[in-house]
């Protein structure tokens, strides 16, 4: 607390701005008063209340996306000082200690920018649909009780289920690139998020019946084999999901699936 005791402390936010899809981006800097416990979102709220740059120019309020403000929805993910993370859980004091220091905010680079710090993560949800990331239950008659989940599997799956589709693992991945054209999404790399979710549902007693279909998708272009094992995904995942373990598990399932498919048809 001592380090934040100074009164009238400020931080400068250097923000990469963009007025809309396809528009050029520019940098603007804002000076914001901070207090103990200030985070990036509270600073952005201050910018929105008084959108004047350090040069004194009146500008438009900076746009960002957010939802829960407690690091479970993933909406406020952005690149802070060059590294991807949620802005709601990003305390200013963890980044700067002095007065009037600079923090850089950029939108994620692997998703199309909607405006300023707000990006469109639709590709992640598109990919979840491709791998049928759900438990199939719909039908015309009562299917009765499902198979029991044993405690060990439930525990293994729980951490995978905490994925909030935030995009950190994809932003940090050297193999996952920006694909503005949705027509390319079915053949471009899906990334760690999808491998984690495929494993979550392939490991589920009922959803396992879709495992073959999921593997068929993940064995194609943009699937599991496009992973380069840089393992940044597991380092930046805010939920500490064992993504590289999921990648190994999907790789193993794909190996077995390929052999079975080759010899059994």
């Amino acid at each position: 607390m001592e380090k934040t005791a100074a009164a009238n402390r400020t931080v400068r936010l250097r923000i990469k701005r963009c007025d809309g899809p396809g528009k050029p981006s520019r940098w603007e800097e804002f000076r914001v008063p901070i207090e103990p416990g200030s985070n990036v979102i509270s600073c952005l709220q201050a910018v929105a209340a008084n959108p004047v740059t350090v040069e004194g120019t009146q500008t438009t309020p900076v746009v960002w996306d957010s939802g829960c403000l407690e690091e479970v929805c993933g909406a406020c993910t952005m690149v802070i000082n060059g590294k991807v993370r949620q802005s709601c859980s990003c305390l200013i004091d963890d980044y700067v200690t002095g007065n009037d220091d600079v923090i850089t905010l950029e939108p994620m680079s692997r998703f199309p920018v909607v405006r300023d710090l707000w990006v469109d993560r639709a590709r992640m949800f598109h990919n979840l649909k491709r791998i049928k990331a759900w438990v199939p239950l719909d039908g015309t008659y009562n299917l009765g009780p499902g198979p029991r989940e044993d405690a060990a599997t439930a525990e293994r799956r729980y951490v995978l289920s905490t994925c909030m589709t935030c995009g950190c693992c994809l932003e940090a991945c050297p193999q996952f690139d920006l694909e503005p054209d949705p027509a390319t999404w079915d053949t471009s790399f899906v990334g760690a998020q999808v491998f984690g979710q495929a494993q979550l549902f392939n490991d589920h007693a009922t959803s396992r019946q879709h495992a073959g279909e999921r593997l068929d998708v993940l064995m194609g272009p943009g699937g599991i084999n496009d992973c380069g094992n840089a393992q940044n995904c597991v380092q930046v995942c805010p939920k500490h999901i064992p993504l590289t373990q999921a990648i190994g598990a999907i790789g193993r399932a794909a190996t077995i699936h390929a052999f079975v498919r080759f010899f059994r048809g």
Binding site: A183, N225, Q245
Partner: protein
Amino acid sequence: MSQQTTFLDRHHFLLRRLHSLSGIVPIGLFLIAHLTTNSSILWGKLGLRGEHPEFSWSQGGAAYFAKEVVWINEQVPHLFLIELTLWLSIGFHAVLGTIYALTGRMNTSAYPYGANKRYRLQRASGYIGILFIFYHVATLRWGWTFLIPGGTAWSHNFASSTLAAALRGGEEFTAMGMVVSAFYFIGVSLLVFHFANGLWTAAITWGLTVSRAAQQRWGYVCAGLGAGLMAMAWASVIGFAMHSPAAAREVETKMHPDAAAMPQTP
């Protein structure tokens, strides 16, 4: 599905896995055998098993290497088929590897994690490795002597002396010879890394190592193998570069008294 499907897309899984497999068998396996043979310039005296007790440690190296080269060229059956398999495998691995590597965007400055640095080095070592293997095969196997400083042609019967001269740029070290030797040192080091790290990632690709602990344990095994191969690689390059061609030639003449002629150094 996208409108145009390419050959690479249609056989995506098979090609990716063959790329992984080809790096281990036959390329990796050959690398182990090749470095074992080449490093004998240092430990060859042991390999002679009491033959030529009059030879010094250094002479023993040249003598054993000469023996090995003759054995490979005269005793190994279907040598041409083995070479053809290697050329095709290396070509396949190099072409596909380059295509795959070009899909990556390096970000080690923002995310300087160990695995990410190895990811980057794996690709860099691949590119430089292709250049090195091409130079190595072109000069010593295809006889493109115009790329060798001093122009020494490598010869089976004078394996150690001509190799030493090719590395040195002549009987004694020249400036260009030092460049060639340095290129060999960097080239083989990067290729050994490429193999050891590739062995580590291949285990994840095939699903052999799944848990973090398993990946770490296999990492130690790969690092150990890599360190051993690196020692052999350095022993080979340094061993030949420091070997006097004249001294090696003396041994080789004794080993192959019926050799047609001494190699010419233009």
